[in-house]
Symmetry: C2
Subunit: 273 residues, 2 copies
Amino acid sequence: MEISLIPTAEQISRESLINKSAVMFDILRASSTVCTALANGCQAVLPVSEVADALALAQSLPEQTCLLGGERGAVRLPGFHLGNSPSEYTRPVVQGKTIILTTTNGTRAIRLAAAGSGLVIIGSLLNVTATARALVAAGRDVALVCAGTRGQFSLEDTLAAGLVIRQLLKLLPSGEATAPAAAPASDGPYAEERPLYKGRPLVLTDAAMAALRLAEYYSANPLQALHDSLHGQKLVQLGLASDLAYCAQVDLLEVVPVYRQGKITLAGEAAVR
Amino acid sequence: MEISLIPTAEQISRESLINKSAVMFDILRASSTVCTALANGCQAVLPVSEVADALALAQSLPEQTCLLGGERGAVRLPGFHLGNSPSEYTRPVVQGKTIILTTTNGTRAIRLAAAGSGLVIIGSLLNVTATARALVAAGRDVALVCAGTRGQFSLEDTLAAGLVIRQLLKLLPSGEATAPAAAPASDGPYAEERPLYKGRPLVLTDAAMAALRLAEYYSANPLQALHDSLHGQKLVQLGLASDLAYCAQVDLLEVVPVYRQGKITLAGEAAVR
């Protein structure tokens, strides 16, 4: 099993995702919002890249069951019911509803992450362990996709990816802690004695290894990473420090949001295999 | 002062370097080799991207004072005097010589890093503090350029960049530890209360912050990072574990190799301003 990390949505290619399970992270705040909405009984989230497309899609859906959510520049869009703060997506507001969501980075990244045709999970700090379990159940190579902030590497998304890797290594039957396999693999320049998973070497790319070490660095205080990040600092300036505190809660939720054919819904254990 | 990090040579753009001091890291092994050669009295290193160009350049220089060095696939090139192991670049071998060097990633990255027209330093773990001092003396924004391995993020180069950042923060008169300035800057969406350096806010991009945290994670044992990296593991497989041990020695050397007009030489304090 190979675990790779794609640092920004711009670096997604079909080759980097093909036949893999993908997880898309945009933890400040699109993926945290999606996880929260679905945990609170929302039927489905429809991620849309452009504001105009969101408005057009809303026209085609029954008004009573549909909500428009999203932001540009971290601020709610005019005419929308909801912004991009998970705190708005409470059970009384979202239960039974379909939410059309458009955000600066995250919704585009979700659609790009679907290029590989495999499983696409929406990951955040809120659902690290649930995400890792779903990846183990799927059994494929894993690509962790960080949305990034305006094309740049983002600290907080990389932290979330690293925490998922840490959890994966704990869950895999022969994780980092086990002894190398007796017979080294020999299928490539970098093959060597490594732990095996389902008969194949378990390989972390250097970017995945760096994310793992970052997760270990911040594991005692994930909120610190959100405050260290430039986007986190921007949200604090906008008076949204409480969103950082919410989004930093590792494993608050037991949800596995899965994107398929334009729609994010909750996956049962069977659905993610 | 802004400190940014470019994770791979492929991501270098003129815009990302213009008017900045750049440091190029390819610590396994090109930049460690350059630092070692110059510390051992080599006159100049001429980095060349292609093997054919290296051979042509050698023809044009006096045979007695010129050595050909370099690798492809981590192995010495046929007809070359030296490979890419710093252990070969001893004083008896290199003193007073000009070395033409061609390596898979590093030499190309050095030339690309020169796109910004400012100072270009060759950085490694061997010369972290000397590099940081030269950057402070230059006083410009800093771009830390990791060569990467075959277009991919490399753990060991990012560690070296992070250690330079850590040292920079120690050397700057108002580093991370100081209180925010009284008057917040207001010149951009991410501007906020930050430590000032020469009247300007000190800003780390998220990638630079991640490198800093990685450096803090590995600071007690930098060699571990080299063994965690895929390229480090490849070198170990090739029997070159001793090169990892050598390259992991933080601040072994007091050199600041500077690239200018096709040539790397040692910079005196005056020359790097």
